[in-house]
Amino acid sequence: MRPFVYEQPTDISAAVAIASSFTSRDDQPTRANAQFIAGGTNLADYMKLGVAEPARLLDLNRLKDPSLRQIRVTDDGIRFGALVRMGEAADHRDVKQRYPVIADSLRLAASGQIRNMASLAGNVLQRTRCEYFRETSWHCNKRAPGSGCAAMEGFNRQHAVLGTSDACIATYHGDFAQALIALDAVIHAEGSRGTRKIPFAMLHRQPGETPHMETDLAADEIISAIEVPAMPWARRSLYLKIRDRESYAFALASAAVALDLDGETVREARIALGGVATVPWRARAAEQSLQGKRLDDASAGAAADAAFAQAQPRKHNAFKIELGKRTLVRALLETRNMKV
């Protein structure tokens, strides 16, 4: 690990100002000289491995603004301060009641210890766990642009089948983000160019030709809050995560589902898929295929087919298409059967 300067700014504007003075407008946040750290459960790991090498770390845990640590429930929805820990949000009564899909996605992620450290904003910005990205001696277009991708012809069981490109097939491994994208969440960000709201679906970038450009954020922008709109029918929602072991493993496939039902007929469906895509993945074609239909094995199956119509398998991950479909079917039926 390289030596670095460590600072603890106490308000966001100061943190932004420091970041601005050490980064330029075109810097990718993940490659900038100055980077923000909150829970540190991802960045500190990558610094030790030599994957991330910021010269300056700006620790956000001393920021004074109390709203950064609050969960506020209003008629408009729910607002998570950026520094709320995953464990706090997972255990929050209103989150569990009103947005079970959010509580599930958090509860099924990582381990208890990590959930107590990791911040919500840091969680959505976590970087891929691709084995070839994590270890610096492999060719990796995301870590070292233009160097190639060893995963493409390597061991790619964990890799993505949706949103991939010829440059990168690394999976976005997060769970919480699937709930957020399904529920049309909005990100609040503060930077040197002021504050702005970013639809969650616009936050992450598909790899395309430039897999090292991971998000829409500037290097001096800080997420201050995550807002989820009010959605009374989101009480009928869940997150289903399929993995090799019972706990503490990344999804091989997952589905975030929320259903607005009229009897057994779907008024509206929200669907996001995890473990199978390069970014948090909203399955809009699947949602549309269900609209106005009676939700049963057949319509759920058709929605799953629609969700994976564009999937691109590699040697070891082809099973994720079938698994992803079944995961979605099961999630849809289990959501339908929820007693709300």
């Binding site: 766990r129 994590r134 090799d244 503490y248 496939a253 079938e322 079944r326 099961r330």
Partner: protein
């Protein structure tokens, strides 16, 4: 008593808590890298990034710029020391800094030494190599591998066992199967990382390193460094998980010792989790072909087991589990053959039940297939084929309680409620399956020495150069002394894990409890003899009593009639403050030079299949229930029951803990563990615990261990059969059988994963 402390049955010792439990849970147990050492410098390894070729140039300039850098040990630095050897004590003959040839991924290319751990790490990361690369062969089926017969390539695997005319018997069998199985690459991943701390005091070298073989390492390290073994001391008081990985010494030890000598300062090198995959040993992937033929009555007439194992180019590491599978049942005829496949990989090594884990997995999965082919209950199929004598040498078993294990485990598991029909059992959306398999492990024992001292105050000290790798051997050695000398366990201290102590064999092959307890028993009995002689002397308080009428209890010598004498008073009459006995134990039938070899660090194992009088094994039967979601096919194991018979159980608590840990490992072997090898680069891909999965607490629900009473005086004086490597044998096959029962899909390649059940 709770589940963790089973009530002792016949021939089973008390479930005493571990004598070092409090130290461990309060952080007072010092593992080798924790042992304080003044003025220490830190070393970090730089490792190569190709699997085959040559290092043409090393770039060290950037590393030398790192503030605090003290030294870089690399090519040339080892020229005046001898190369490591592959064998019992040495992990590999690959001498990474003697030779610029690259034999495998992650080979050591340098050791950076600095004032701080961070500086050493940074410098090591900055060391770059230029290579002359060649296309490597990764594993089975890779172009460029070489396949050779294994027999005779290792002293531990002399021949392919066989009996009768397999070809004829198989050809004429009424029911037969012919199937292929495989097991993946696995790494031990003990939670305690690998480390070496070395320092010199004049010409004395002291090494703190987690080791399962301090005496062997002392001798081997001295040979490499060309110094007198008397000047080397290996210290390893606690080991945080070993599983075989800390048995053979790796080349790092001598490199760190040389670094400490160059610097004139202690050097500590802790290997990273990732680097351990290439610098330590591992369980190589195996393949199997099994053919079984039987009559319609279920009696097996023909058994053939062919195995293939990956090894490195220079070293012929072989496990050869056919020697156990070939003796498991009453086969009629047996044919076996083991081959080695040489690839561009680091040398594999011992990993918990090295031969049995892969080979018995294949056999037991095949046995279940055969039971299905015969339309027979798998337990009954095994009962029918229970042998009176082992089929290869026609020797008896010194004891064999396999059927008792099956009966007790089946009863506790509720096997009778299993519906035989495949796919018949369901719980909502979950398919339910039940399966079983046999566990077997050879019972061996080796020469061992120990010193035991009893003081007038009633304190006992046991000293033995064995190793507490988490098995509880320190506790059971103390328990043996406590029982034989009649003092409470709280008065007993046990010193282990230091090559300055009386030598013990490697803590491998599940021999430690048998070997250590046998010698402690001998030393204690020598103390008893002295005490008795004094007590029964003409002027003694128990004059006229015979030794066999005496016992030691509560600090007293007690005669049959009730008369007694305090040990303290006897010592007074002897005019001594303590009695200390140094004992050496050699197994029955050991050659005259057996004890000399103990001191040179190369004692030989006895028992298993090698003895003249009988073959010696511990057995068990394991039953599992699996649940598989009917949509998404994830596999969970909510219930396991294992019954095991292993002679004298010294301590039911530590025995259960070993067997339970083994069965949990078995869940991992069945469903989780695999090191992935990149086929193009012959490099390990998932080199950390993020992607190398082992079971977590949530994967282990209801697990029951039954200790079946068994008495066997033939195995060793303590009557103990090692069980540390018994519990994880069989579990994976039982899971595979249960998966078949639930789904009708026979999975033959481990680990069993969702994708195999989706198709």
């Amino acid at each position: 008593m709770d589940a963790a402390a089973p009530r002792p049955k016949e021939n089973q010792g008390e479930p005493l808590p571990r004598i070092d439990a409090r130290l461990k849970v309060t952080g007072q147990a010092h593992y080798p890298a924790d042992l304080p050492t003044a003025n220490i410098a830190y070393g970090a390894l730089a490792t190569g990034t190709i699997a085959r070729g040559k290092v043409t140039k090393l770039h060290l300039d950037d590393a030398r710029e790192v503030p605090g850098l003290l030294d870089i040990v690399t090519y040339g630095a080892m020229d005046k020391v001898d190369k490591p050897k592959f064998g019992n004590v040495g992990a590999t003959s690959i001498a990474p800094l003697h030779d610029r040839t690259i034999f495998h991924d992650g080979q050591i290319i340098a050791l950076a030494v600095a004032e701080t751990f961070e500086a050493a790490e940074e410098a090591a990361q900055l060391i770059r190599a230029d290579y002359e690369e060649e296309t490597p062969s990764a594993s089975f089926d890779s172009p460029g591998t070489k396949t050779i017969p294994a027999a005779g390539k290792s002293p531990l695997f002399k021949e392919d066992v066989k009996a009768g005319d397999f070809d004829a018997a198989y050809a004429s069998a009424a029911v037969k199967i012919d199937a292929r199985y495989s097991t993946p690459t696995q790494h031990h991943n003990p939670i305690e990382l690998f480390s070496t701390t070395a320092y010199w005091q004049g010409d004395q070298l002291i090494v703190h390193e987690p080791s399962q073989n301090v005496t062997g390492w002392k001798v081997e390290l001295a040979r490499q460094l060309r110094i007198d073994p008397a000047n080397v001391r290996i210290v390893s008081p606690f080991i945080g998980g070993a599983f075989g990985s800390k048995g053979p010494m790796t080349p790092r030890t001598a490199i760190v010792a040389v670094a400490a000598r160059r610097l004139g300062r202690p050097v500590r090198c802790v290997t990273s989790r990732m680097q351990a995959f290439g610098t330590q040993t591992y369980r190589a992937e195996t393949r199997h072909r099994i053919r079984i033929g039987a009559g319609k009555d279920g009696r097996i007439t023909a058994f053939a087991h062919e195995g293939w194992e990956v090894t490195s180019r220079p070293d012929a590491y072989v496990v050869g589990g056919t020697s156990a599978t070939g003796r498991m049942y009453d086969y009629g005829s047996v044919l076996t053959h083991v081959s080695l496949v040489q690839a561009d990989r680091n040398t594999p090594g011992y990993m918990r039940s090295p031969p049995e884990t892969p080979y018995v997995y294949a056999l037991e999965n095949a046995m279940d297939e055969m039971a299905v082919a015969l339309g027979m209950d798998p337990v009954e199929f095994r009962r029918i084929n229970e042998p009176k004598k082992e089929p290869i040498g026609k020797k008896p078993f010194s004891s064999r309680s396999l059927i008792q294990c099956y009966d007790q485990a089946a009863e506790a598991f509720g096997w009778a409620k299993r519906e035989a029909k495949v796919g018949a059992m369901r719980d909502g959306d979950w398919l339910v399956g039940m399966g079983c398999a046999t566990a077997i492990y050879p019972t061996a024992v080796a020469p061992c020495a120990a010193r035991v001292r009893l003081t007038a105050d009633g304190d006992v000290r046991v000293q033995c150069g064995s190793h507490e790798i988490g098995t509880g051997v320190r506790t059971v050695a103390g328990q043996m002394a406590s029982e034989r000398l009649g003092v409470g366990i709280d008065r007993v201290s046990v010193e282990m894990g230091d090559s300055a102590l009386p030598p013990a064999p490697v803590s491998g092959g599940s021999i430690s409890t048998a070997s250590v307890c046998s010698v402690v028993l001998k030393a204690c009995d020598a103390i008893r003899t002295k005490l008795y002689a004094a007590a029964t002397a003409e002027s003694g308080p128990l004059a006229g009593s015979h030794n066999e009428e005496l016992d030691l209890a509560d600090g007293k010598i007690v005669a049959k009639g009730g008369a007694s004498a305090r040990v303290e008073d006897i010592l007074k009459t002897m005019q001594v403050g303590a009695i200390e006995e140094y004992a050496e134990f050699a197994p029955k039938g050991a050659p005259p030079e057996a004890l000399k070899k103990l001191y040179s660090g190369m004692p030989e194992f006895h028992g298993g299949e090698q003895d003249e009088d009988a073959v010696k094994y511990a057995f068990g039967a394991e039953f599992v229930e699996v649940r598989i979601n009917r949509y998404t096919k994830e596999i969970r194991v909510p219930r396991l029951v294992g019954a095991f018979a292993a002679g004298r159980i010294m301590n039911t608590r530590t025995a259960r803990s070993q067997l339970m840990g083994g069965m949990i490992w078995g869940i991992g072997q069945a469903l989780h563990e695999a090191t992935e090898v990149d086929r193009h680069y012959a490099r390990y891909v998932n080199r950390d615990l993020q992607d190398y999965l082992v079971p977590v607490n949530a994967d282990v629900k209801d697990l029951q261990v039954i200790l079946v009473p068994e008495v066997d005086h033939a195995v060793n004086p303590a009557g103990v059969k090692g069980l540390g490597e018994l519990g994880n044998v069989g579990t994976a096959a039982a899971v595979a059988s249960a998966v078949y029962h639930a789904t009708g899909k026979r999975i033959r390649d481990l680990p069993i994963r969702i994708e195999q059940l989706l198709v």
